[in-house]
Subunit: 87 residues, 2 copies
């Protein structure tokens, strides 16, 4: 299944809304960074909902990988998220 | 060459230092997100320098891909970075 890293940079006013939205679909990693698998239709829904929230200079980036296997992750300092894959 | 997405979540006191460090090695994308190619030794140097800055609950994550080709990028809203590949 496609694997996503998603990051957003939005006005303080909309941070809460975005956090709530992204948490519904992906795993919170740190700050405004999320990860997880999404089907094409889940990604489409998340995209549509995110587009309905963003305004002005807000920005959202989805990095899509065909598979999580292509990704190596290296963490310095504190592991903020409690992901089983990190254990 | 290995391709990196790097994100950090550090105390406000150290944000300026981290921004300056990461800009020396990678391209700023948004907020605390950077991208770019690094050789193994460049990555090692960046890692060592980042480790010398972080304290307490600070966190830095490097996502490494064998090649940028594995990555698809989708931007909603404003393109904050001025990367030639986006033109």
């Amino acid at each position: 299944m496609p694997y996503y890293i998603a990051v957003y940079d939005v006005n303080q006013k909309r941070v809460g809304k975005m956090l709530k939205l992204f948490r519904r679909y992906l795993t919170w990693i740190q700050n405004s960074v999320f990860e997880g698998e999404l089907t094409i239709s889940q990604h489409k829904r998340l995209q549509t909902e995110a587009e309905s929230i963003i305004e002005d200079a807000d920005s959202v980036i989805f990095y899509q990988l065909r598979d999580e296997l292509y990704l190596e992750r290296q963490v310095l300092g504190i592991e903020k998220a409690n992901k089983s894959r990190f254990l």
